[in-house]
Amino acid sequence: MKLKYLLFLFLLPALLISSCKRDDDRIFETNATVRMTEAVQNAYTVLQANKSGWMMNYYPSQNQEFGGYTIFTKFISNAKVSVGSDPIKGIETSSYTINSESGPVLSFDGFNKSIHWFSEPGKDNGGIGADDSGMRGDFEFIVLKASADSVVLKGKKSGSHLVMLPLKGTEFESMSASYQEAAKKFSDFEIYHLETSGNKTVELGYDPKIRVFSNPNDPSAKDMSFRVVPGGLEFYEPYIIEGKAVDRVNYIAPTNTYPYGYYTNKDNSLKIIPVPTPLNRWFRNNLWSMSYKNMGALGKFYWDGAKPTLKKNGITVNNVYIGGTSGVYGFICNLQNGAIFGGVSYFINPVEGTVDQVYIQLEGFGLGNFTGAYWTGGINSLATPFNRRTFKITSEDAMKPTTITLTDIGIPSNTFKLTLDDINDPLNN
């Protein structure tokens, strides 16, 4: 018994002393909230400290499937930021905040097309990516590190890592302008050819809305994601093209052989050549307005026949188009003062071996909220002069014309003058 108490007495002080020693094994000096406040404050300070602004390379989706862009930011106060990016013209100022969440989070919380274009739903960004998720970019970024030489960000939704690098002097203005100019020049063309040794040429897979090439001759079928920079293109990572690793191609000014110039790698082993869009593909990829006064005798004959039928069925025709958008081709109408927009799908096929001939034929799927009642109610007659016909396309402008003329190869009186501008009340204009 005595021994037990003695033991207890000796042990007690030791236990009591060690029990209150938790201070020693703290990993951080201060508690989490204080550190968070400091991290947020630090991010604010660092971002605003560089008065010249920052730039970052930005691949909005983690898989780079929409290509890359360059974003310029200048944090002009603790609430306002100016943003420029190469695909969107100009610079806009909007709001930002650095929130404390699972880390300091830089949130561009006021709308600014230059940054929100990458995160907008496809419906709002011009049809890139899915209707609801668009390019899957971010406008909220976890600040992983903020120091004067770089700010490392992680996209909150995409998880992509980005690095903001400091700019100097007036680079924010001058570089954003030169990147936008380069992007504009690049987007003038919608077709790019790849020429490799022995003058072998192949058309690269390319959707003008995004910045990804695919090489049909590449057995790995790996998409090549790139950014447009002044003087060339920079690839996301070195890609193997015809056995060569290529991470950048430089723009070479036009020559006789290459009237629009070309892009080439360091040792000139390959060329990426811009090619003007052939008229028949330009026609197919745009929606063209038509109207009664702009068509030949055959068209007028059918439209005259349709007018009373449409009137009888209470159909108001506001606009009529032919062509395509986002890979859907057809005869499209705006009816009932905007309540109905849609039409019927058509095959619009460029005639092989030509640049200016197109074959048009009814396919028959409904598009938009257009219903069969409108089709049989008179719209079908408006479309009749196009069905199962081959047209030759002519235009005064060689590149991306806004007005074209279709002339039926079989029936020369069947002509249509079409324009990219809307023509209202086409039955009477």
């Binding site: 108490y5 007495l9 002080p13 406040t37 709308f111 609801d132 998720s133």
Partner: protein, 298 residues
């Protein structure tokens, strides 16, 4: 033996006294309010909404207040300014005028307004116009479509914003004090729950009205019917209302008139609001919209 026990207790109690000497509580809070530059809109909201009505407006995007099921864009500053001004002019002030004081809005209007720039697109391309949560928060979408041109287009404003706002506000009112059961019985067997969008369409108003509903969504359930009928009534001119209703057959028109009669009595008796006066007030402001300054925050 006893002495040992006593010594033990003494040691123990003294040790307890000294153990864990507490650190002093730091008088500085760890939650530091940041000083953020305020702009004209912040001041305007403070003055017009927060001070008088205890209403807060989130015009800058706050993720945790947003619907995480959608990819959303923030509202632009310009459209936020327009909405903040229009909402007061067309949404809040008419109630003040009709009830004669700011109390009604202060008591019942949701306390949090959340602006979102984009629509909430579903993956089939359709989208949500607005939502209300528990009577405290209204989220308005598509703010970025609001500009100098659409800001004067009353049909646009009603369709995208104000119809939604009155709709959600009416939900709060009937949830606070219920409407007569007789309302539910007028078209009691015709409510179709979630299949309303499959059965009815805005493009076929004849069927909608003939069945006694003012809009396809009204066919969902009595509560939606109640607020839809109310919201359409107070935002449409008498001519527009008549034109809309006349799409249906006589039976349907009668059913809608019966519903409207209950709504009219309910608002008069319960809230002391004459909905015809309210409508006149809203319509007068709509008609004069061209002269309303949507951008000045002075």
């Amino acid at each position: 033996m006893k002495a040992f026990k006593n010594i033990g207790i003494l040691f123990f109690s003294s040790a307890l006294l000294f153990s864990c000497s507490k650190e002093k509580i730091n008088s500085e809070s760890i939650f530091v309010d940041r000083k953020v530059e305020r702009n004209e809109l912040d001041n305007y909201i403070d003055k017009t909404y927060t001070k008088d009505y205890n209403i807060s407006i989130l015009y800058k995007f706050v993720e945790k207040e947003s619907d995480l099921n959608y990819n959303l864009s923030p509202a632009s500053y310009e459209s936020s300014v327009r909405m903040t001004k229009l909402l007061y002019h067309l949404g809040i002030d008419p109630y003040n005028k009709v009830t004669g004081s700011k109390d009604f809005i202060r008591k019942y209007f949701p306390k949090l307004l959340n602006y979102i720039g984009s629509p909430a697109y579903r993956n089939n391309g359709t989208f949500v116009l607005g939502t209300a949560e528990g009577g405290v928060k209204i989220t308005l979408y598509l703010l970025n479509r609001l500009n100098a041109q659409t800001g004067k287009d009353i049909e646009f404003l009603n369709y995208f914003y104000f119809h939604t706002m009155h709709h959600e506000f009416a939900h709060i009112l009937h949830q606070t004090k219920g409407y007569p059961v007789a309302f539910e019985q007028i078209t009691g067997s015709k409510y179709v729950a979630d299949s309303w969008s499959n059965i009815y369409s805005e493009n076929d108003l004849e069927t909608v009205i003939s069945n006694g509903f003012i809009s396809p969504y009204a066919a969902k359930e009595p509560n939606e019917d109640f607020v839809e009928t109310y919201s359409y009534y107070i935002t449409l001119t008498p001519e527009e209302w008549d034109a809309r209703v006349s799409n249906g057959d006589d039976k349907g028109i009668e059913l809608i008139a019966a519903k409207l009669a209950i709504i009219r009595t309910y608002f008069q008796n319960i809230w002391n609001i004459d909905i015809d006066k309210l409508r006149d007030e809203i319509l007068a402001r709509q008609a004069d919209l061209a002269n309303f300054d949507q951008t000045s925050l002075k």
